[in-house]
């Protein structure tokens, strides 16, 4: 595996060279908060922010995405015939994505790229993207990624892992896509054995800096129905105001709604992020609602992340421990606590 060394004073120039072949995305400050967005010509990614308020899932799964368009003008020969929206899938690179977020995109792939169907929008965007990750040297107090099969230097889902070495970056090239990006940016100086050792030390230090330990080892063996019927859900849900923040900030929440919007004779079918926290999510036309109660919806979120997903794919939980939902929840509902409670639950027989 090749590791390349990049001087920080050459970094910007390299990115600018890469911009000629790739559309770049990266963390930038918009109003008060950081989020991932397409970088404008002169804009540089902010490589210091550890957890953007929203995750970078939008780079492959936009909050609002055009799926199809049609004309309703009956004088046109193709009226009412849907056509795939014209979207640009030329090469792009996400710079500075953190390892837990890349791991999340890898998990979400299990949903969108299946043996029965391939979601062409998500998959085309994913295929077009090179993920140039940035290791977390100083984890935030909310980070519990090491408990959730990820970590501050996790490589899963990344094409390149950058490590900030103060004066420069080390770039561990993980895939051919990553190699192509680095070559395009003109980064090619091989790292020394000393660099690699320093990198290992940073990795250890970062992993040790995460002190929150969340227990997941029993989740697989627990009965799904026991957990679903457990008595603690009302307590967990009690203070929830169903605002949906936890699902929007989460890098692994992929649920979406589909809506048509018409202006004049032109109609567009969109998909938008949706949230299992909303009662509308499951409301039938008849008025019946299988998850009409708040507790049922809160339970759905935790059960999906920590049990249903695990049972369905056997690839770990659908939480990567980024801590965003913990940080953003207005009433301090904490998935770390809920996970521990689920993991320890023994039904009264």
């Amino acid at each position: 595996m090749k590791v390349i060394k990049i001087d920080k004073n050459k970094w910007t120039k390299g990115l600018d060279t890469a911009r000629e072949s790739y559309q770049l995305f990266g963390p930038v400050k918009i109003k008060e908060n950081h989020c991932f967005a397409p970088l404008k010509r002169d804009q540089q990614p902010d490589m210091t922010v550890v957890d953007t308020v929203l995750s970078p899932k939008s780079t492959v799964f936009p909050q609002t995405e055009k799926l199809m368009t049609a004309t309703l003008d009956t004088s046109k020969p193709n009226h009412h015939l849907m056509e795939r929206a014209d979207t640009d899938y030329s090469p792009r690179a996400v710079i500075g994505i953190r390892p837990f977020d890349a791991r999340a995109i890898d998990l979400v792939k299990l949903n969108f790229d299946t043996k029965d169907h391939r979601d062409p929008y998500w998959c085309d965007a994913h295929d077009a993207t090179t993920f140039v990750g940035l290791a977390v040297n100083t984890p935030s107090q909310f980070d519990f990624s090491t408990s959730m099969d990820s970590g501050p230097f996790d490589e899963k889902g990344l094409d390149v892992l950058l490590v900030d070495m103060d004066t420069g970056y080390l770039a561990k090239i993980l895939t051919p896509k990553g190699e192509a990006f680095m070559a395009c940016a003109g980064f090619n100086r091989e790292a020394t054995a000393g660099d690699l050792q320093k990198m290992e030390e940073l990795k250890k230090a970062a992993e040790q800096a995460i002190t929150t330990q969340v227990e997941t080892d029993n989740l697989r063996e627990k009965s799904l129905l026991d957990l679903h019927q457990a008595p603690f859900w009302d307590d967990v849900a009690f203070s929830c105001i169903n605002c949906g923040t936890c699902t929007f900030v989460c890098p692994t929440c992929w649920c979406f709604d589909i809506q048509d919007e018409t202006k004049g004779n032109n109609t567009t079918r969109f998909r938008n992020w949706d949230s299992c926290m909303s009662p509308l999510f499951t409301l039938h036309g008849s008025g019946h609602n299988p998850r009409g109660e708040k507790t049922q919806r809160v339970r759905q979120r935790f059960m999906h992340k920590l049990k249903y997903f695990l049972d369905k794919y056997d690839q770990g939980t659908m939480c990567v421990g980024c801590g965003r939902c913990v940080k953003s929840c207005p009433v301090n509902i904490d998935i770390r606590e809920v996970c521990n409670v689920m993991n320890a639950y023994e039904p009264q027989k």
């Binding site: 049609a70 649920c255 589909i258 079918r269 999510f281």
Partner: protein, 281 residues
């Protein structure tokens, strides 16, 4: 690449008012492209997404049998945005269909078995598809006795009335049509709720008899004990569910019951399967 969100273009060829209160209409569609018709190769019990550009999409059970070629049929209850738009459409209009979607009644398991089909209200659409399929001369020998209990509020609310009365006349299917109430003295069939008629008329279970149940939640709730008292095991009771849906292909996440997705792992489940889920339907 194949886009599972892209509907096949279809034309409405026929619209028939299905019930006396006009709340249900049966739509017959033909595909604009013959290759789409060939690709839309369904089994009785599956559903499809009806797509009206500008309005949206709805999951609807396929009411025509795979043995009926050249068209597909759906019977739709008017309730909200898309169903109302559909009711307002006219013969000749162009719209779309995605599918077929979901699983089907377990025809492989049901081969050589006796079947009792139980339907209530307008949840008779895929049951009609199933009956037409089984009665097809090429298939009838694959099944034992076929009993049908079908009920609606009143005679005018029964779907597919002409066919029901045709089937009444046949000797290879036992029809038990019922209505909740009726003041027409010429009504020659049953009066009473579906679960009661099931108890009175449905065959007792043996290991070669299966029941398929579709209907409003209240009917399903009271039909279950009726079937159990006739000896049906949970693995012999087959049901079709209707959770809210959007994508229909297992991706948008809303139709789940625990880890099962109704659009992909269902909509057909045995009661035994459902007992293993959190039953959020």
């Amino acid at each position: 690449m194949n886009n599972p969100y892209m509907p096949y273009p279809v034309r409405i060829d026929d619209i028939e008012v299905a019930t006396e209160d006009r709340s249900l209409k049966t739509f017959t569609f033909t595909f604009l492209n013959p290759e789409d018709e060939a690709a839309f190769d369904h089994k009785a019990g599956q559903f499809a997404m009806l797509s009206i550009p500008g309005k949206g999409e709805i999951p609807i059970g396929i009411a025509s049998s795979p043995t009926e070629k050249g068209f597909v049929k759906f019977t739709v209850f008017r309730t909200g945005v898309v169903t109302t738009a559909l009711h307002n459409m006219a013969v000749g209009d162009i719209m779309g269909i995605r599918g077929p979607m979901g699983n089907w009644y377990p025809w492989e398991t049901l081969k050589g078995k006796n079947l009792v089909i139980i339907g209530g209200g307008f949840a008779f659409t895929t049951l009609r598809a199933s009956i037409v399929y089984m009665l097809d001369p090429a298939n009838r020998d694959n099944f034992g006795n076929i009993d049908v209990v079908y009920g609606a509020r009143s005679p005018g609310m029964l779907l597919y009335r002409e066919e029901l009365f045709e089937w009444e006349k046949r000797d290879d299917i036992n029809m038990h049509i019922t209505v909740d109430g009726c003041d027409d003295p010429s009504w020659a069939y049953n009066v009473g709720f579906v679960p009661t008629i099931v108890e009175q008329k449905a065959p007792k279970a043996d290991e070669d008899t299966f029941a398929i149940v579709c209907g409003p939640p209240i009917m399903i709730k009271f039909t279950q004990p009726a079937l159990q008292s006739l000896g049906y095991g949970d693995n012999q009771i087959i049901m079709s569910l209707e959770n809210r849906m959007k994508c229909g292909i297992g991706m948008c996440g809303r139709c789940n019951i625990g880890k099962e997705l109704v659009c992909k792992d269902g909509p057909v489940f045995t009661l035994e399967d459902l007992n293993k889920t959190p039953r959020e339907y």
